[in-house]
Symmetry: D2
Subunit: 257 residues, 4 copies
């Protein structure tokens, strides 16, 4: 993939950005596309009642091994244990023997959704809010808590690795518009407004099997190519990073949420 | 409510416990009752496409103010900010300006599900596993991660406060079997095997409005009375603590999960 | 104490500031006054071999109860316990049974030294370094680690509470130049260049006895009055906050380190 | 170095242990040897007024890279920054612009003293206290806070690497009694009751220069050989791990504090 200039990236960002589309006070972005009827329709699609866990385990074996930004893998600590209980430590309160714990994690640990406050364009974040509204006390606009009851809808898995007949895409591979369209076509699925698109590169399984994370958490893991920004469906979708990591432009934070 | 003796609590625990019901290696408990068809059926109940956020905010204003067990309200810290970005701190990597954060929380902060490893009966936890399987490195059995793809099904809200015509139940109030049945009857809803029952006491709203948490996180907040353990439906349900805190026996950790 | 205007505080800061005195690259401030011979002389003063612990305990009972700036009292967590050891958890490594722990604390917890990067005057910190050199990754100038081998010398305790014949000074009391001089005189001690002056208000003992911290960690605890900035000795001293908290100007961060 | 059997280690522990020597309630161990006069004498030894910093930096570049026991390198986080201040975030409180931070560290990070509660012999810790007195809430006996005003005295550096004419001792090397005696003799120093002995292996500098920590924090770094337990001076000393890591028996936690 040819290396993009900063000017090219900024030009595309200006061209595609949807700031102001839902008013100056909006903090939902493309999630505004999801109507209650979309949710009703999505629920009706449930046929088999199978539930899939999409996230990586939230533990010390994850990909955040200091590769970027002072992040770490989750630290898990116990506040009360069964060994304490059996040693009689909890018997001050009659009958109550218990375990308790705590977790300390960067929000980029394991698998996560990026908030609209996660990346900046110049001195602004999504919808034109000043970037300085994210300070040491948190994100005063565009925080992830704004999505707490918004992330419900139809999910579409595009299994690009399977379509291409490989166990996993290689580091540095940029998924093209042609890849996306061909995968959808092969699967007989149409990507529509308000869908949650999940792209499988196969790399997560491969990393888990080998125990070597490489650049998974912030390096050259396979992802969407810069051109995919122009995919006709991209502007109305929420695209997850779950099974993938984004290469190229997406990593510059300019994906039009 | 008359104070229970430890013997009464232990007797009831022995009488109701379902250890071994799904084999000696099970870590799901009553979640075993949920079939794929239950999930399909639950999905079909969606009529309006409204999404409710049930949890308390995961922030420093929560109810864990040192009332019990060394717990604390979540600590939120930034690893990268917009003020840094605007000050030019991120321009080492051209074009990438971002925010990043971390959170440190006891797993009992805000609103949460209790794992089957959370409480012990004597020297054992649910299904008879030794309590000592929960040590300083975590829960080696019955950890909450076992529920990662299991907590999906039909939810039933029993609005006990509304049924009783009060804005919220008072501290110390124990919800009786008669309360539960009357509330369900009034609402025209039947509680069935494999449902997730959510009981509303009204106290959460009241605490949020006043900013005074009192015993919400571990004191005498209203909850299910000891007799509710014998509610004919209780043995097949997952009962949430979301809108409530449990009084009486439930707090002794003997609720038959 | 009359409330100071911001203009008065800034005027005094400009008048007293010693930026550049030890060159543009200095990060030691008045610690430059301490010569090796001062340390030799200080060591010779040891008569009784008594050692005093000056700090508050670094635990969950301290004064950081959310009074200011998102600080908290230290959180102490175990990574390995004796109860685990006795339960046989450590016997994988033959013969090694151990305890281990971790601590999570704001650096303003308990008793601490303020770094020269702790407060700003306008857009600068001590010696004129830009305040923006303290970002989310830490203090790139004037960090406390610069003092690691510098805080050694003669200590002088000025027991102002004792001199004034009270068990402790009241909240809001500002210690005057006359108080300081009279206390030193009564004690027969002379404060000299390069001393570490420790001022006792008596409030720490009183807070510990009552268990009520009040404004100790960031409120109106007794401390040095604004006029003490002009004390003839102040410009060459390191004044500790150990037994006291500073009222007035010092709290504005303008004390001339 | 021949591999020791567990029986040999336990036999030596029984032979050398000084439990009860200062009564059943003692928590100071060999620090009891230090008299006030020893401290006065130590102070008189100061000739040059030079201060040395012995510890590793308490930061994310340290040796705790997950090699043992769920430890990590210190995590440093900012609660308030200069970039925030300059962006006008602190101007709610007129005139007060500041930086603030927090640190989260295992107590075995960087350089540290081991408490007498750190290792166990069977089901007991030093002085015969039950190991179960160290539970999820901390060490209820033999905590390091007992040493807060006790670690003052004469320090003796034995530069074993220099004596042996090498820049640093190799991994796995066990320092013998002959090494210790010859080094002291060459330096013209006598190790006496109540000294703090600091042993230099040279490895810390070498690790810092190469940036490769290897087994420094819990592996086969050079240290004291098992036989050094019988060194005639060992029973009255506090031996630091500062410039070294202990090999052999000391790592089994049986060094007679």
């Amino acid at each position: 993939m040819a290396k993009l200039s900063k000017a090219e990236v900024l030009k595309k960002a200006e061209q595609l950005k949807n700031w102001g589309r839902w008013g100056p006070d909006d903090e939902w972005g493309v999630l505004n596309f999801i109507t209650p009827q979309d949710i009703v329709n999505a629920a009706r699609l449930v046929r088999k009642g199978k539930v899939f866990r999409l996230g990586l385990e939230l533990d010390e074996n994850g990909p955040q091994r200091g590769i970027f930004g002072g992040r770490w893998n989750p630290l898990h600590q116990m506040l009360a244990t069964g060994t304490d209980a059996v040693a009689g430590k909890h018997d001050v309160t009659p009958g109550l023997r218990y375990a308790d714990d705590a977790i300390n994690l960067p929000t980029q640990a394991a698998t996560q959704w990026d908030a609209l406050s996660h990346v900046f364009l110049g001195e602004q974040m999504w919808n034109g809010y000043p970037a300085t509204l994210v300070d040491s006390r948190g994100a005063h606009k565009n925080g992830i808590e704004k999505f707490a009851n918004k992330m419900v809808g139809r999910g579409v898995l595009l299994d690009v690795a399977r379509h291409k007949g490989v166990p996993y895409l290689q580091d540095g591979y940029g998924i093209t518009v042609a890849d996306l369209d061909a995968t959808a076509s092969r699967q007989g699925v149409e990507v529509r407004r308000a869908d949650f698109v999940i792209i499988r590169t196969g790399q997560m399984e491969q990393r888990l099997q080998t125990g070597e994370w490489g650049g998974y958490a912030g390096g050259d893991a396979p992802g969407l190519a810069f051109e995919s920004l122009d995919w006709k469906r991209a502007q109305t979708l929420h695209v997850t990073k779950y099974l993938t990591k984004m290469a190229g432009a997406a990593r510059d934070g300019l994906w039009p949420h």
